[in-house]
Each structure stands twice: as structure tokens, then as C-alpha cells.
Symmetry: none
Subunit: 226 residues, 2 copies
DNA sequence: TTAATTTGTAACAAAATTGTAACATTTAAA
DNA sequence: TTTAAATGTTACAATTTTGTTACAAATTAA
């Protein structure tokens, strides 16, 4: 993941949280606490996407947005609007003014990330890559392929989902219940021991010869990547 | 303002000035005058941030920084590097080596304070990671791992829970009944002497050679960390 | 359709963990 | 000092947890 994201938001704690997490995800981030500063900084920063708060101390998000659209170099800058609860009735107005998406506070970072990806994929596919990497392992979510050390590994559907799940939080230990919930369809019921068998299958595929073990067993707790 | 800050800097007058002012601002501060001492003290002190001089009599700031990053319990310790004038061209190198920010001497205390705040603000959301620390011991609840002095210690499930329990209130003495209630599943019944055996096992794992005893026996009362 | 792949479970093997008893050592009190 | 209580230590059998394999049912591809 790469690309530049600019944030105009007057709540420092939100900026902090979002900025930190976006940076962890590989984005370059800059921000302003009010509209006028934001408009100036924006030109310097030349972002690929703008996160814009609805309510700002000086200008409203809408005004900023209209302002931006007047500027030729920002005609196509994607904007995601952040609105506080209770401003919902204005959503349509927001979308009319050239906003690409909106998000109601409070929101989870995952939600935000999903929107950002979706918008960026439309406007600038280069900035989004859905590859999960860990150690010498690489999982391509789009093409549904897995490589270790550059060499492709063939996985069955369940093994793929299992590995994908672990890769979203490598090193973290997941219980069998957590794994079941996240990797198996919501309605289906399988024995928790079934996981052990799939872990075994995943291990067999992933542990190419002369490669170190990738899946750690944590007795009485579950499994994790390592 | 609170938190612990460690300083490695060979100029006593700078240490004095900075330490005094930081303490006035509510920080707990400790320091060393050279790299080797610093690395040792660091482990004992478990700071939330490190101020690191670039030029030291023994190791360079860069070397120390690399050294620190190798240690699992310090992977995310924020570091602010202090460089003397004329070393500016090395700034990028400094940032590459895992430094979070730098400051060129001479600097005003206000400047330093602003950087510290900024860095801590960024790293603090990270500090919510479920790590329990005590002395040179670190327990990662997410990854289910324990480190002493940076070195991993393998524990069985019960030993892990036992240590986790003690770490939530280190130094506090717990009776065998309290330990039983909190560490063992609610329905199960075991002899209170069983705890002694598990304490013994925990001690054996945790007391790496040449390390001081971590678990204290309080006769007729129970056990605690120390 | 047939063939191939994938999936869940049972059954057994292997390994790790656990509780307890028995004995040793330390500590505090008499 | 002697004695009793508390704790340390060790060994071991029972139990729990996980690894592994085989196989039939279900699903998908050919």
C-alpha cells in the first residue's frame, strides 16, 4: 500500500489515531486542524486522497470541497467525508457536492481502511495493492495466489483463507474458536479439531523443504504465525 | 504528563538541564553517560522513550539504536536522537536506523519538549498493546510470549497464567487461595500445595542463570514478584 | 456423467502438561 | 537445641492436548 493521504479534521485524537494507522499501512500522511490551513497545505502535499471533516472551526467540509473542485489540479482528487452522528440527513447533499464517500463517526479504522481502498482503487489503482506479506511469504488476495521465497505454493480454498486470516495479524495467537468464527462461513458448524487438520495441511504446503516452521502451536491457546 | 524517559548522553550539563526540566514536567527520568552502561540500565528502567546522543565515548548512537531494535522488548521504544551541529548530513541515516525524531544541539528545552510530546503521542496508541512489564521481564498477552532481558522464555500454559496474574500486580503478595481462584478455572479443585510446585516450575523457567530471583516467598502468606 | 479435489471426522499415536505424594530443607517458635 | 510447621524439590502416573493418517461424503471440474 502506498500513496499520500491528507486529513482535515479539528479533533486531534482522531488525526492521531488515523494518521498512525494509515502510516502503519504504508501511506504517507499529512494533516491540518482547520479548513484554511488545510487548503494551503493541500497544494504543497499533493495527496492522492483527502479525508475531510464535515464540521470545522472555520470552513465547512462542503465549502472546502467546492473550493477544491474549482482548482483544476484537484478536479479528480477523491474525497471521503467524515460526518458526526446526527448529520446523516445531509449525506446526500454531501455526495452531491463532489464527495466520493462518507463515513459516520465514530467509525472503526477497518471501516475507514476499506473505504479508502475502494475509493483509491477506482481513482488510482496503483496506490492499492492487496498483498499480504510476512517473512518470505506473500499472499495475493486478488489473484488468490501464495508465494514463499518467490516460489508459488498451491493451497486449497480453506488453507488459503486460513493463511489469509493469520496474515492479517501475524504473530498474534488465535484460539480455535476465533479461527472458526473468522475463517468458516458464519452458519456452518465444524468441530474445533477440524482446524488442527487444516493447520496440518497448511503446514505441509507452506513448509517447503529446508524452510523453517511458519505456524506456531501455542498449547491450550491456539495457533499463530511466527 | 507522565511516563519514563531515559537519557544516554555524555555531557553532564545537558543531562542535568534536561533531566531537571523533564522531571518538573512530571516525567520519571534516568540516564547514563555512555553507551554500554546505558544499554544495561535501559533494561532495568523500561522507559517509554529514549533520548540518545549521537556521539558517545564508546558506542555511537546508531549502534545503540540498532542494538536496541534487536531486543524484542524494545522493538517499539521511541527514540529521539540528539546530534551536534555539523552532523546534519547524517540525519537521513539516523532516521533510517529506526530513530523516530532528531534534534540538533544546541536546542531549547521547549523544542525538545514539543518533539517528546509528538513522539509519545504517536507511540502511545501503540503502547496499548497488551504487554505487561516488570523489571527486565516482559509478557506479551497477544503473542503469548515472555521475555526476560530480551530473551524468550518458554512457559507452559499454567506457568504463563500464573506469571500473567502476578504481573497485573507485581510486588503484591497473594495467598494460595487467591492464586487458585484467579489462575485456575472456576470449577476445578486442586490442592493448595500444587501451587508450590507450579511456582517452582515458574521459578525454574524465569530465573535464567545469573539472574536474581523474581518470585518471593512470604512465609505463611503466599508469593509475590519482587 | 465420471473423475478429481476438497472437506470433515474418527481413531490412534505422540507429546506436553498436570496434580499429587513422598521426602528434603528451611524457618520460626518453644 | 529441639520440634513442628511451612516450603522446596523430585519423580511419576494420569490426563489433556495436539499431530497424523485414513476414509467416506460432499463438492467441483472435466
Amino acid at each position: 500500500m502506498n500513496g499520500k493521504i491528507f486529513i482535515i479534521e479539528d479533533e486531534p485524537s482522531i488525526i492521531q489515531l488515523v494518521q498512525h494507522n494509515l502510516e502503519k499501512n504504508g501511506f504517507l500522511v499529512s494533516s491540518s486542524l482547520n479548513g484554511n490551513d488545510g487548503l494551503k497545505e493541500l497544494k504543497k502535499f499533493q495527496p492522492d486522497l483527502l479525508l475531510l471533516d464535515w464540521m470545522l472551526p472555520d470552513l465547512s467540509g462542503i465549502e472546502i470541497c467546492k473550493n477544491i473542485r474549482k482548482d483544476n489540479s484537484f478536479k479528480n482528487l477523491p474525497v471521503i467525508m467524515l460526518t458526526a452522528k446526527g448529520e446523516e440527513e445531509d449525506k446526500i447533499k454531501g455526495l452531491d457536492s463532489g464527495v466520493d464517500d462518507y463515513l459516520t463517526k465514530p467509525f472503526s479504522f477497518n471501516e475507514l481502511m476499506a473505504r479508502i481502498k475502494a475509493v483509491l482503487r477506482r481513482s488510482n489503482p496503483n496506490t492499492v495493492s492487496d498483498n499480504l506479506k510476512f517473512d518470505d511469504l506473500m499472499l495475493d488476495r486478488i489473484e488468490k495466489r501464495v508465494f514463499r521465497d518467490g516460489q508459488e505454493i498451491k493451497l486449497g480454498p480453506t488453507e488459503f483463507r486460513l493463511l489469509e486470516f493469520f496474515l492479517t495479524n501475524p504473530k498474534r495467537v488465535y484460539s480455535r474458536d476465533q479461527i472458526l468464527e473468522s475463517v468458516w462461513p458464519n452458519n456452518i458448524n465444524v468441530e474445533s479439531r477440524t482446524i488442527d487438520v487444516h493447520i496440518r495441511r497448511l503446514r505441509q504446503s507452506v513448509n517447503l523443504k529446508n524452510k523453517k516452521e511458519l505456524i506456531r502451536t501455542v498449547r491450550s491457546s491456539g495457533y499463530s504465525l511466527i
